[in-house]
């Protein structure tokens, strides 16, 4: 009998799971298409306003703001990918195989992370190619920022999926939460134009740190990128740890 715990066997199981979850994502591309098209339209619509309001940095505000707003909505993709396992009753089938909880989570997370990154890279690419966003920093710094934000979304979405009891609850939470938190973070309008109370509570929104991080990465400010990245990393760590603990219990807490 092959050794179930050998590194090679584990890697092969994660590969099988990742391939399968990528297939699931390919079979249901509707959300991704929505979250790629929507920011493109919003960037085009808001650009004239924002560049008039902010002669310097208006395009960066426009692209990063719309990216954060729509990428926060992708929390729904993360949450649905986990909640669907309950709807289909497939989580227990997976748990009855030799795959460990960690392998199941990695196999589930990698394709979703790829989707989140893809959405953000496409939006940034559109910003550069069409909206006239000027990149002063190294692409690797921006990629790092996008990766950190994607991991934060992945962790937050996973936690949400373990807290809600149904798809409709998840939809309500992600739609309202994403729009409110992103607006508070300054995704639609720069914080300087928002009421002072909004400016005071903005740092409570992860989106605030994401916009700061992305703007800094675009202008090539490494220190300005890494500080908010560290805060987002901390949020991701806490949310991810709680989500993993709950998921290890086999989504048992998600009884409807």
């Amino acid at each position: 009998m092959p050794d179930d715990s050998s590194l090679r066997t584990r890697a092969l199981r994660v590969t099988a799971l990742t391939r399968h979850n990528l297939l699931l994502r390919r079979r249901d591309p509707a959300n991704l298409i929505t979250y790629v098209i929507t920011p493109m339209v919003l960037i085009a619509l808001f650009k004239p306003v924002l560049t008039r309001l902010m002669p310097y940095g208006g395009t960066a505000q426009d692209v990063t703001g719309m990216l954060v707003l729509t990428s926060t909505l992708t929390l729904q993709i993360v949450g649905m990918s986990l909640l669907s396992e309950r709807t289909w009753r497939t989580w227990e089938m997976l748990r009855s195989t030799p795959a460990t909880a960690a392998e199941l989570l990695i196999g589930k997370a990698l394709p979703v992370l790829a989707v989140l990154l893809l959405q953000q890279v496409v939006v940034i690419g559109y910003g550069v190619a069409v909206a006239g966003l000027r990149m002063s920093g190294l692409p690797v710094l921006l990629l790092l920022a996008l990766l950190v934000w994607s991991i934060t979304l992945l962790a937050a979405g996973s936690l949400l999926a373990t807290l809600v009891r149904s798809h409709s609850q998840l939809t309500v939470l992600t739609d309202i939460g994403a729009i409110v938190l992103s607006t508070l973070a300054g995704a639609l309008l720069p914080l300087s134009m928002m009421p002072s109370i909004a400016r005071h509570i903005a740092p409570a929104s992860p989106g605030y740190w994401a916009i700061s991080m992305l703007k800094a990465a675009i202008r090539g400010d490494a220190a300005g990128t890494l500080a908010p990245a560290a805060i987002l990393g901390g949020i991701a760590l806490v949310a991810g740890a709680i989500a993993c603990m709950r998921l290890r219990r086999g989504l048992a807490l998600l009884r409807s």
Binding site: A16, L24, R27, D28, W88, R95
Partner: protein, 275 residues
């Protein structure tokens, strides 16, 4: 292959298993029967490593269930497959998790496809299949990696006769090849088809265990005598002796005689009601 001794499992105030003891040998098909709430599904979940007992001891081939996952094939009561992927894609994924690769995986898929007649819909998405086809696909996942222990929880619920025949034939073959099979069902005639030993569960424990012949010994059959103006029905443990005695004592002309041997249903009713 499977040894469960004195399993106890509680969910809050509810005791799902209360000293559940069951052994299944290699090559043996055990029909696990009992009313809803008897503990059958909880037991199946514990064997599959999906739940841990609060007390008692369980091993699969000498290993704790979680460590024996590769040795176990599971088909739960409800369809538990990804609707958006095809049967072949499902088999590839679950086969991959059980360590099957390329040639061995292709061979295993070919084998279960033949055994369960999946060929016509192997490349059809699960969501597009009929209920019976989905059941066959789910059983195929359980049998794919040739596990020495197969757990099937009501695998023929709501299926057509063709699916039932295909599944029972595949299980008989697997048992002949040495697999231990735990088959939970409410359809007792299937267990006769499978020549299964019986384990009757009630209140979270096994209350009767043995072959159908062993358990039915002493269970009354029924003799029906048609006497023209009346029909006489007499329960009889030894039907031949009782019939002989009846024939010597009846003074009326006899129009007809029928002898009904006890069925598995009778056995189940008797055991469940007297335990």
């Amino acid at each position: 292959m499977l040894e469960a001794i004195g399993l106890v499992k509680r969910y809050g105030q509810v005791t799902a298993l209360d000293g559940f003891t069951l052994s299944v040998a290699p090559g043996e098909i055990t029909g696990l029967v009992g009313h809803n709430g008897a503990g059958k599904t909880t037991f199946t979940r514990i064997v599959a490593g999906l739940a841990a007992p609060d007390a008692g001891h369980i091993t699969v081939a000498g290993l704790a269930p979680r460590r024996a996952a590769r040795l176990i094939g599971v088909a739960p009561q409800e369809i538990s497959l990804y609707p958006a992927v095809t049967v072949r894609e499902s088999l590839c994924m679950f086969g991959g998790l059980h360590g099957l690769r390329r040639k061995s995986l292709a061979a295993a898929i070919g084998e279960v496809s033949d055994a369960l007649c999946l060929g016509g819909f192997l490349d059809t998405r699960i969501a597009s299949l009929s209920g019976g086809q989905q059941r066959r696909a789910q059983a195929a996942v359980a049998l794919l990696h040739r596990p020495p222990l197969v757990l099937l929880d009501e695998p023929t619920a709501g299926v057509d006769p063709q699916t039932r025949r295909a599944l029972l034939a595949a299980l008989r073959q697997r048992a002949a090849d040495g697999a231990a099979i735990v088959y939970t069902t409410h359809y007792l005639p299937e267990l006769a088809d499978l020549q299964a030993t019986l384990a009757v569960a009630r209140g979270g424990r096994i209350i009767a265990r043995g072959t159908a012949q062993q358990l039915m010994a002493g269970l009354p059959g029924q003799i029906t005598l048609d006497l023209g103006d009346e029909v006489l029905t007499v329960p009889a443990t030894d039907t031949a002796a009782t019939l002989a005695q009846l024939l010597t004592t009846i003074n009326k002309p006899l129009r007809g005689v029928s002898v009904t041997e006890p069925s598995l249903d009778d056995l189940y009713q008797a055991v469940a009601s007297h335990a």
